[in-house]
């Protein structure tokens, strides 16, 4: 009964999405206030029904209702409660329900937080979001309902894939979907602006916080996925250039470009067409990601049940979205004026280079991901493109990007003096160079990659600090205390700096772990000592242990640092009652400068196993970097000016262009007091 209620709620949500996708757009075209205001109520109603549907499915999981086919194949009465709740998104249908729920949530969030937008703009944005929701909801209802019954009901569920029974999986999909679906908001703002023919600085300012939040979620979602793969898959790998990872990485690259391009559009009114294009492309890549993961063209941990109808539907949806958006773009974008001019050495050109490099990186990933699939689809042979390709492409693209990152925030808009800037930063450059030559030697033998990583990381952090010091330097005319001067910089600036430092830490971590990890697959017998990465590992005992829904062989491995006892690790080889396949459970000792990683492979005899014993230097720098990027994104989105200025945008749009140049992160206004409430 509950399942039918859920399905019915899902259909009602679809109907409301249809209403939200049509009436407000019609109202905006006709100037009909009543029709326009339908959008907000429809968004709230849709969210309410989606919540009911979602709660119904969760209820079926918690009460072990194995008459629901989806529950029967993704749960088990022995499954711990937290995994019953997270098991809702453990398969295709349920995760799609989570996806549309999150889309409903974003719609309602726009309806709530954008009250100050002009009525037409809000109506169009909600209308476009309604259309997007129609696309995904009809996909759910017609091809992938999680509420289908299984008659007769199964006596016991087939259980959630053991790999997914992990805290990392509880958070990875919701975070990732918040990011993916969040870009629907940026997309809707872009399409709404094209429809309305008003592509201006105000539009950029409205969509900027939404984009930043979506980007932050996507960053954290991808990071969580990588963190999960690192210790659950048990190979010590954290990024495989697997097509599914690439599927999430492409919108991230373009989304990052969009974030930076929006800054130029907001502050200087330039790059308008390009920014709109990026918003469209980013969201298209999100749908492409859904297609890659859900159509069955890929086989990986993420690939869900193969069903050609689903793939075809998503491909058609992608086609409609891309074609319609590009037609609209071609029709409308021509009428948009150019923004302010800028010279070769300016912040605009730095951000333009950033965009070009990120877009090229995105295109390179797209090529490597799609080409093998296309060949296979047309029966032209089976090939694959492995990590060496992506590594070969990424190094030369990221090098100029990260170097420029040091200059970017320091450059003035419009025009700056290159020699003067270079002169100012010469000591930081020299210092970073020296650190790059020395730091890796403390970890292992100096290598070019690690040296470069250390140099770029220190360069980015150094220039960030230098910029901060420059901006809060005491000035003769105003004697404000340091804290006031810091606060005046604003959260937008703080967010940017934190995210950039995050990039620096991640770069150092990535290059060091690639350069100096020590991975050994070794035979370990009782009492035997193995040395890896300067640590000694001794197998003390092998035991049989019981878990809630599995039994396991557990090894007790003592770890010594130069003979001193450091820690004891307990890796397991688990056999889940519901699965025939055994699964290795990694044991880790994490640290600031290295992780120690032990994973059981195969039993060789009563007292010997093949084990993976890994030393992973600086691994946690990568995760810390990702978290800082996420925090930076949220912080930037919470800047005061997004809330305050919103009320004024309705009036002086052109004035906003000028006011924008006097924003908090503009070097040009350093000498003037920051205007409050300008618009």
């Amino acid at each position: 009964m509950i399942a039918e209620v859920g399905f019915f709620a899902l259909i009602l949500a679809l109907i409301l999405a249809l209403v939200q996708g049509t009436l407000p757009l019609l109202g905006a075209a006709r100037g009909d206030v009543a029709l326009m205001s339908v959008g907000r109520s429809a968004a709230y109603g849709q969210l309410a029904f989606l919540t009911v549907a979602y709660a119904a499915l969760t209820w079926a999981f918690v009460t072990d209702d194995f008459s629901v086919a989806y529950v029967a194949s993704h749960s088990n009465s022995l499954l711990p409660l937290q995994y019953k709740i997270s098991g809702v998104w453990g398969g295709h249908e349920g995760s799609l329900l989570l996806w549309v729920l999150i889309l409903g949530f974003w719609s309602a969030a726009v309806a709530t937080f954008s009250r100050s937008l002009p009525r037409e703009v809000l109506a169009r944005v909600l209308g476009v979001m309604g259309l997007v929701a129609v696309g995904f909801l009809s996909f759910t209802v017609f091809t992938s309902s999680p509420f289908e019954r299984l008659l007769p009901a199964a006596i016991e569920g087939r259980d959630l894939n053991p790999m997914l029974q992990d805290p990392g999986l509880i958070f990875h999909p919701p975070m990732l979907y918040m990011g993916y679906v969040g870009f629907a908001v940026a997309f809707s703002f872009a399409i709404a602006a094209l429809i309305g023919g008003r592509l201006d600085a105000a539009w950029a300012r409205w969509s900027r916080p939404w984009t930043a939040v979506a980007w932050a979620f996507l960053t954290l979602g991808i990071g969580l996925g990588s963190w999960w793969a690192y210790y659950v898959l048990g190979w010590g790998g954290w990024w495989f250039w697997d097509p599914v990872e690439n599927a999430s990485f492409m919108p991230w690259l373009l989304g990052t470009a969009l974030l930076h391009s929006l800054a130029v559009t907001e502050k200087r009114g330039s790059f308008k067409n390009w920014t709109v294009m990026l918003a469209i492309l980013t969201f298209s890549l999100v749908i492409l990601a859904a297609f890659l993961v859900r159509s069955g063209v890929l086989t990986s941990v993420h690939a869900f049940a193969v069903d050609p109808d689903r793939g075809l539907y998503l491909l058609a949806f992608l086609g409609v979205v891309v074609t319609a958006s590009l037609l609209l773009f071609a029709w409308r974008a021509g009428s948009v004026g150019l923004g302010g001019r800028f010279s070769l050495v300016s912040r605009e050109s730095a951000l333009l280079s950033n965009n070009v490099l990120l877009a090229v990186a995105g295109a390179a990933v797209l090529l490597g991901t799609i080409y093998p699939l296309l060949l296979d689809a047309f029966n032209l042979g089976k090939i694959s493109v492995g990590p060496p390709y992506f590594e070969a492409v990424f190094m030369p693209l990221m090098l100029p990007l990260l170097l420029l990152l040091g200059f970017g925030p320091r450059l003035r808009w419009k025009q700056d003096n290159a020699t003067e800037l270079l002169w100012r930063l010469r000591w930081i450059f020299a210092f970073s160079f020296v650190v790059g030559m020395i730091w890796p030697v403390f970890v292992g033998q100096w290598s070019f990659l690690a040296g470069l990583g250390a140099f770029l990381g220190v360069w980015i952090i150094g220039t960030s600090l230098h910029d901060l010091a420059y901006r809060v330097r005491p000035r003769s005319e105003s004697r404000q205390p340091l804290t006031t001067r810091l606060r005046r910089l604003g959260r937008s600036y703080a967010g940017m700096q934190i995210a950039h430092v995050g990039v620096a830490l991640a770069v150092i971590g990535i290059t060091f772990v690639i350069g100096y990890d020590d991975e050994r697959d070794v035979r370990m017998a009782h009492g035997e000592v193995i040395e890896v990465g300067g640590y000694q590992f001794r197998l003390d005992s092998l035991d049989r242990v019981d878990g809630p829904n599995f039994v396991a062989d557990q090894a007790t491995v003592s770890v010594f640092d130069d003979g001193q006892p450091l820690t004891t690790l307990y890796p397991q080889m688990r056999e889940y009652f519901s699965q025939e396949q055994p699964m290795a459970h990694t044991s880790l000792h994490r640290g600031l400068f290295r992780d120690l990683y032990v994973n059981m492979g195969e039993q060789l005899s009563a007292d010997a196993w093949v084990m993976r014993v890994y030393y992973k230097p600086y691994m946690n720098w990568v995760w810390t970097g990702v978290v800082l990027m996420g925090i930076g994104g949220f912080l930037a989105a919470s800047d005061r000016r997004y809330r305050r200025r919103a009320q004024h945008d309705d009036q002086g749009l052109l004035a906003a262009d000028d006011a924008g140049t006097a924003g908090p992160d503009v070097p040009g206004d350093r000498e003037q007091p920051r205007p409050t409430g300008a618009g």
Binding site: V301, V356, G381, S384, G386, Y389, R523, Q581, E602, L604
Partner: protein, 153 residues
């Protein structure tokens, strides 16, 4: 005149950079394509040495042997027509079994042994690596053709 020259320079610079990037990407792409080959193709000597490729098929029954050190593994990959000896050092996937589908990545050595750097098996009960399936399909097609031909004569 001066601004025009500047702009020309800018456009030229941009184009050159774009060309360089495109060349870089395409070059990396063609260098790192990994082709797929079946045991039959290797048996017919049509596969180059010293180039990484993927080899798919079934793990031949009774072919898996552990080396003295416990870490090195020898086994054969077959497409039901021909078999190729494979050597691999490391932990095998949990679902690596004789008679089951497998895909390996590595290089063919001069002695005809395939040195694998990566071994991938199915990761759930129903899934057969598509490339393993492809190898067996090709071998069967080949066999069907050789059987038919004498009849046609």
């Amino acid at each position: 005149m001066k601004t025009r020259q500047k702009r020309l320079m800018l456009v030229g610079f941009g184009l050159a950079a774009l060309l360089a990037i495109t060349a870089l990407v395409l070059n990396a792409f063609s260098d790192n394509l990994v082709f797929f080959h079946t045991p039959s193709e290797i048996a017919s000597n049509s596969v180059p040495l010293e180039r990484t490729f993927r080899l798919g098929g079934l793990v031949e029954d009774n072919s898996v042997r552990r080396g003295e050190d416990g870490v090195t593994v020898h086994f054969k990959v077959t497409d039901t027509a021909k078999a190729v000896p494979v050597i691999y050092s490391g932990v095998l996937p949990n679902l690596f079994r004789e008679g089951q589908g497998v895909v390996t990545v590595g290089q063919l050595q001069e002695d005809g042994v395939f040195r694998a750097t990566q071994v991938m098996a199915r990761h759930d009960e129903e899934y057969m690596p598509p490339e393993a399936a492809e190898a067996i399909k090709q071998a069967q097609r080949e066999r069907a053709r050789t059987v038919e031909r004498p009849e046609g004569l």
